[in-house]
C-alpha cells in the first residue's frame, strides 16, 4: 500500500456534538458492559445458588493480592487521566510518559495475577477443581486479556503522542482503560470477599 490512508470528511464531522473517536469508544464500552455483565450476572446467580459451599472456596483467593491489584489499577487510572490532561494541553511527550507508566503498572497487575494463579493452582485450586474456580479463572482471565489489549493499544497511541500526532486518541484509550479498571473494581469484591454469603 503505497499511499497512506486519508480519513474521509465523514470522520471529522460532529453532528452529535462530540468527536467520533470518543463516541465510538463509548459504544465499545457499552457493548463490553453487556459482555462482562452477562458473565458477572451468571456468576452472581451461581454464587447465590451455591451459597456456603462457594463461600468456602472463595476463602482461598488471596485477599491482599487482590487488594494490591485494585490499588495498582486505581493508580494507573489516575496516571491515565493525567496523560489525558497533558494531551489536552498539547503536551504530547508528557502524555506519552504517563501512558508508558500506565503500561508498566498494567504489567505489574499481570505479574501479581500470575503469582496468584501459580499459588492457587499449586494448592489444588485449578480451573477444573470446582465451578467457582472455573468462573474465577474465566472472569479474571478475560479481564486480563482486556488489560493486555489495552496495554498494546496504549503503547501504539503513546508512540504517536510522543511525536505529537493523534493526541485526541489519548482520551479514548483513557476511557477504555477506566472501563477495565471499573470491571476489576467489581470483580474484586465478587471473587475475593468470602464471608458466608
Amino acid at each position: 500500500m503505497g499511499n497512506s490512508f486519508q480519513p474521509p470528511i465523514a470522520t471529522g464531522r460532529q453532528t452529535a456534538g462530540l468527536p467520533s473517536g470518543r463516541l465510538g469508544t463509548w459504544w465499545l464500552v457499552a457493548s463490553e458492559i453487556v459482555i462482562f455483565g452477562g458473565l458477572i450476572a451468571s456468576f452472581v446467580m451461581y454464587r447465590l445458588r451455591h451459597g456456603e459451599y462457594w463461600a468456602l472456596q472463595a476463602e482461598h483467593t488471596k485477599l491482599y493480592a487482590g487488594a494490591l491489584n485494585t490499588f495498582i489499577l486505581l493508580t494507573s487510572s489516575y496516571l491515565v487521566v493525567c496523560a489525558h490532561q497533558a494531551a489536552h494541553k498539547g503536551e504530547g511527550r508528557k502524555a506519552a510518559k504517563f501512558l508508558y507508566q500506565t503500561i508498566i503498572l498494567g504489567g505489574c497487575f499481570l505479574c501479581v495475577k500470575a503469582y496468584e494463579y501459580n499459588a492457587e493452582i499449586s494448592a489444588g485450586f485449578g480451573p477444573l477443581s470446582d465451578l467457582f474456580w472455573t468462573f474465577y479463572y474465566t472472569a479474571t482471565g478475560i479481564h486480563g486479556i482486556h488489560v493486555v489489549i489495552g496495554m498494546i493499544t496504549m503503547g501504539v497511541i503513546a508512540k504517536d503522542a510522543s511525536n505529537g500526532r493523534q493526541l485526541q486518541r489519548v482520551e479514548c484509550i483513557g476511557i477504555y482503560w477506566h472501563f477495565v479498571d471499573v470491571v476489576w473494581i467489581f470483580l474484586f469484591p465478587l471473587f475475593y470477599i468470602a464471608s458466608g454469603i
Binding site: 463509548w26 457499552a30 458492559i33 487521566v81 494541553k89 473494581i185 469484591p189
Partner: protein, 123 residues
Amino acid sequence: MSIQSVTHKKMNYRKVYQCLIVLLVISIWGPVYALELENRTLSVLVVLLTAFGIATVKTFMVSAWFMHLKTEKTFVSRLLLVCIAFMILLFAGVAPDILLPEGVNRELDQNYSYPKEEPKNIK
C-alpha cells in the same frame, strides 16, 4: 479553557484518587471485620455495604471524574445506564430458574437422601 480551570481539574483528579484509595482500604477492612461479627445478618450487611456499596461508589467516581461523564453529553450516561438496566433485567428473568433448581412445587422424596454439596478440593 483557561489555565486556571485546567489546573483546578488536575487538583480534582488527585483528590478523587486519594478518595478512591481511602475507599479501597475501607472496603478491605469491612469484610475482615465482618468475619469477627457474631450476628450473621449484620455480618452480611457490613459486607454488602463495604464491599459492594463501596465498589458502586468507586465506579461512580471513576466514571464521573476520570471518564468525564459529568461533562460528557447526557446521551452517553443514559446509554451506559440502559446497558446496566438490561443486565439487571437479564438477572431478574433468569434467576428464578438458576436459584431454584429443585423447582417450586416439587415434593421431595422422603426416602431419598439428597447429597449435600461437599467441596472435593478442600480438606
